[in-house]
């Protein structure tokens, strides 16, 4: 009942280097990383988060603030290089980046579909991902684009595919001493396109359901397709089997309709106060159809 003040009793830490931050994570208990705080502070206010002794603000670590194309291979990028996003890059900082907008328009759209500008001036994509909510908008196209996360602790670094990062609502691959230090979006090949669609009660709202599609085209055939959906499962969902099954198939309206029905049949959404499971299922196929068409067109494909 107390959104007017923050009642919790914690110490604020503001390391200025990554090494320092990792040391804190390794040595102290009940530490929460603070990026934009638009999830963390809200949950601390409403008391929906377990006990916090330390809030560690990572925004003073200069080396973590970037959003740019990079060709270092260690971040998990592919042959074409990758667009790398540091953990303190704000959502608006990312969305305003010209390279991102050019190469990953669906990622930009998903970010701009989040909240409203003042939240995006603080919130980060890393925070959105680490919060590990099934609704996380920025995660949906990122899964489709094949994002790879770098998790680091004093013990070392590892790279995890975004779709393997989530374990359940609020649960991730992150170990207690680990932190997300990089998000790499591999630069897509030519003849590829993507789409993002979100349905919500009002525009700045959390999604009732969201969809991302990435398609790599080979003439009239689908070379590679990745479909991901938000708010239909306990975690951001990579619709792996169905997506992979589309490889090599001829793109046409029948395939679109069939795929949409398959996705719909495969989903087991829940009801919550944003919408109910029937609705989620009912419009999942509408979204999949729209998304496939849009991504295909964006990949330069035609549909008759």
């Amino acid at each position: 009942m107390g959104s007017r003040i923050l009642l919790s009793d914690f110490a604020y830490l503001a390391p200025t280097t990554l090494a320092e931050a990792l040391q804190i994570l390794a040595e102290k208990q009940a530490v929460k990383i603070l990026a934009g705080g638009t999830d963390l502070l809200l949950r601390m206010k409403l008391g929906t988060i377990s006990h916090v002794d330390y809030v560690m603000d990572i925004k003073h670590i200069k080396e973590l603030n970037y959003a740019c194309l990079c060709d270092e291979k260690q971040c998990g990028s592919t042959a074409n290089g990758a667009f790398c996003i540091g953990p303190t890059a704000t959502l608006n900082q990312i969305a305003k980046n010209g390279d991102l907008s050019r190469l990953f328009p669906a990622q930009r759209e998903a970010i701009l579909a989040m909240a409203a500008t003042s939240v995006r001036n603080r919130g980060t994509m890393a925070g959105n991902i680490c919060n590990a909510s099934p609704v996380a908008d920025s995660a949906i196209p990122a899964i489709c684009y094949g994002a790879a996360l770098t998790l680091q602790s004093r013990r070392g670094k590892r790279i995890v595919a975004l779709e393997d990062f989530f374990r359940g609502p609020g649960e991730t691959e992150l170990e207690k001493d680990e932190m997300l230090v990089n998000i790499a979006l591999p630069v897509p090949p030519a003849d590829s396109g993507a789409a993002f669609i979100k349905k919500s009660r009002v525009k700045p709202d959390i999604a009732k359901i969201s969809l991302g599609v990435f398609i790599e085209r080979d003439g009239t055939l689908i070379k590679r397709c990745r479909i991901a959906m938000g708010s239909v499962a306990p975690l951001p969902l990579y619709v792996q089997k169905i997506s992979e099954g589309l490889a090599g198939l001829e793109m046409n309206e029948q395939l679109i309709a069939k795929t949409a029905q398959m996705v719909k049949a495969a989903l087991k959404p829940i009801s919550d106060l944003r919408t109910n499971q029937e609705y989620r299922r009912a419009i999942s196929s509408v979204l999949v159809e729209e998304g496939l068409r849009l991504a295909w067109r964006n990949a330069g494909g035609e549909l008759k």
Partner: protein, 158 residues
Amino acid sequence: MSKHLIHLTVNGKEHELTVASNELLLNVLRDRLYLTGSKYGCGVGDCGACSILHGDESVLSCLVLAVEADGWDITTVEGLADGDQLNPVQQAFLDNSAVQCGFCVPGMVITSTALLRENDDPSEAEIKDYLRGNYCRCTGYVAMIKSVMDAAAKMRGE
């Protein structure tokens, strides 16, 4: 709990103050600097009544720890006018009768000002999109949207 010495520049004036780790920027502005123009409407980022400018960007002060704002250059609604001279957004709101109860208005003019610093010729759709995080229960937004368009035109010298 930890205590921190922070420096804030608010509406051009420098402040040095000690804050507790759990103090929120909104409450420091209101209760300690007596700048009560920024309002509490929800405390969870949903209404925009607490919006302030951090440099040129709008930020929700109910979701920022005061200690996070150390070193910030802040403009609150009290700092938008130049003496008696309202800023173009404020003037346009006044001229278009866009104000009713006024409780959302500080946040609304702050966010609109941020928009116009970023884009001096926003379309209606861009304005609506930019203001979508600021609730107004009174006006139905139409006069406000029109005001932002008018202010932009004036700033462009039209």
